[in-house]
């Protein structure tokens, strides 16, 4: 990901949080998946949302990314209210996400998957979609090069022309991240990225995420494994049964008795 591309995005002003969610509620058939959740994510930070399975983390992510509409409450990105926006429109504001269950375009190559991510950034006059003129050629070239750079960042340069469906699980995760970065986001939501990865792959993954932070991208990670996020998150919010349990720095979270109770016999180090 080039510094130039990162600079294209307007930088959030001052100390206002890039992402602010307020009093989000979401029920399914009478069951509260998310109950009165609020959070502030400062720009350029790594924010983790953790909790046991079923805590409502993925639902929260779906509310932020726009797949679900909240029953009440609001979500704002850099001060802009997202409530009326459907998921695809939030991408143009710089919000990207990956999925817990990997959703790649299996019939497309690795490279084509990432190129698909440039959808909102094409600068081609309509007629050139039919008669492929200069702008078209330039855009194609640019997309290819950008895509290859992104894949290089994730160490996948050798696999450009492989079908996405044939990749290993770890590679698929990396590809998903590369593809979501093609949208040039300011805020990246990552849903359980470590699921199914071995320890080495997880290390690489976390390292890449740290590098992204260094380039100005704010990251929100959802995980149920607390160990993982301890080393990478600036701030952690713990959820349980759809409710806010605790929020603080990693060391604070580790020592909090309510958190420990919720994770009884769980993955505390």
């Amino acid at each position: 990901m080039t510094e130039a591309a990162a600079a294209e995005r307007p930088v959030a002003t001052g100390t206002a949080p890039l992402l602010r969610a307020q009093n989000l509620h979401k029920s399914f058939g009478g069951v509260h998946a998310v109950f009165d959740i609020s959070l502030d994510v400062p720009t350029g930070s790594i924010f983790a949302i953790i909790g046991p399975n079923g805590a409502g983390k993925s639902t929260l992510l779906n509310l932020i990314s726009g797949i679900y509409q909240p029953d009440s409450g609001s979500v704002a990105l850099d001060g802009q209210d997202l409530s009326s926006m459907r998921a695809h429109r939030r991408v143009r504001l710089g919000l990207a996400r990956t999925f817990q269950k990997i959703r790649l375009f299996k019939q497309l190559s690795v490279l084509d998957n990432v190129i698909a991510g440039f959808h909102v950034h094409h600068k081609i006059p309509a007629w050139q979609y039919v008669i492929h003129g200069k702008d078209f050629a330039r855009d194609r070239q640019h997309c290819r090069e950008e895509a290859m750079r992104l894949l290089d960042f994730f160490g996948m340069s050798a696999r450009l022309n492989v079908f996405a469906g044939e990749l290993s699980y770890g590679e698929q995760r990396m590809l998903e991240l590369a593809r979501s970065l093609a949208t040039k986001p300011r805020l990246l939501l990552v849903d359980e990225p470590a699921a199914g990865l071995n320890a080495a792959e997880v290390d690489v993954l976390l390292d890449r995420i740290r590098t992204l932070r260094g380039r100005g991208i704010t990251v929100v990670i959802v995980e149920h494994n607390m160990d993982l996020v301890m080393n990478v998150a600036d701030r952690i919010m713990v959820m349980d049964y759809g409710r806010h349990l605790f929020q603080g720095t990693p060391s604070e979270v580790q020592k909090n008795p309510a958190v420990i109770a919720a994770y009884l016999g769980g993955e505390l180090s």
Partner: protein, 294 residues
């Protein structure tokens, strides 16, 4: 005079409605368990009807026995189509391929029947078609009474089966979550096969009862399938109660449209209703939300 007509058409509506329900129930059961549509379902209806016809008129058997034969023929077809098409394609994961394959089967079946049986309608007369009761100025043939009786009993049995027996609950479990059901010792493949068998048996049976009151040609099923689909959508995919309700409503709409408007408009009215439903309440009359898991 008008009350008589209204009542008469109500009876007709219930007669056809209950047959549509039998056909639609099969479709909705399959969808509930497998999230798939068997496009050849209508042709099972037709083939059931022909099976009953030939059994009766070539072997001189009784009508009720013929209905039973149609039931069995339907069951066999259901087993066959599951084994040959739905099970192999399940591994491929594309959700639209099985539907396309069954379209091919439907086209094959219809045109084979056309070649074997010809396009000229068969007169499917039973000893009950001509016997009529008369009350309150309305004419009801014994055939109609049999249809209503057999359909109601069957539907009631099916409903009870789904709600109260272990197998029935297992069927619903498989439709909710196939993996978990598998983990609980229920064999999903067996249940899916069972669903197809039951669903198609109902279709065959419906055919045997429809044929005397409709025209028996290789395309008899087609006239029903389109309404059956509409019923399934209006009632809600996979929703048994909704389908029963929707089936009766469509049957009644059909009767009243025929009586007060124009028979040629039936399809248009039913489909206009379908499209309206799709806009306002796509999940059906008795809403049953299926959130897609993201």
């Amino acid at each position: 005079m008008t009350t008589t007509i209204v009542l008469q058409q109500a009876i007709n509506g219930v007669v056809f409605g209950s047959l549509y329900v039998l056909v639609a129930l099969g479709l909705t059961l399959i969808y509930g368990v497998l999230v798939q549509i068997n496009f050849a379902h209508a042709d099972f209806v037709t083939l059931g009807a022909f099976a009953a016809y030939f059994f009766m008129h070539l072997l001189g058997a009784g009508y009720f026995l013929s209905i039973g034969v149609a039931f069995l023929v339907g069951a066999a077809l259901g087993w066959l189509i599951n084994a040959s098409i739905f099970t192999p394609l399940r591994l491929k994961g594309n959700e639209l391929l099985p539907l396309i394959a069954t379209i091919g089967v439907s086209v094959m079946m219809q045109n084979l029947m056309l070649t074997w049986f010809g396009p000229i309608p068969y007169a499917f007369e039973t000893e009950y078609s001509s016997q009529v009761i008369r009350f309150a100025g309305i004419f009801v043939s014994w055939q109609n009474i049999i249809i209503i009786a057999v359909s109601s009993v069957t539907i009631a049995l099916l409903y009870a089966f789904m709600k109260f027996t272990f197998l029935g609950k297992a069927l619903r479990a498989v439709s909710q979550d196939r993996e978990t059901a598998g983990l609980m010792g229920i064999n999903p493949n067996y249940l899916i096969m069972l669903t197809f068998v039951i669903a198609s048996a109902l279709a065959g049976m419906a055919g045997a009862m429809l044929a005397p009151v409709l025209v028996l040609t290789p395309f008899a099923g087609t006239s029903v399938i389109v309404k059956a689909f509409a019923i399934v959508i209006i009632g809600g995919f996979g929703n048994v109660e909704g389908t029963i309700l929707a089936g009766l409503i469509v049957g009644l709409i059909e009767s009243y449209t025929t009586q007060f408007l124009d028979p040629g408009l039936i399809d248009i009215v039913v489909f206009a209703l379908l499209l309206v439903m799709l806009v306002i309440k796509p999940t059906g009359l008795i809403a049953e939300r299926r959130e897609e898991n993201v």
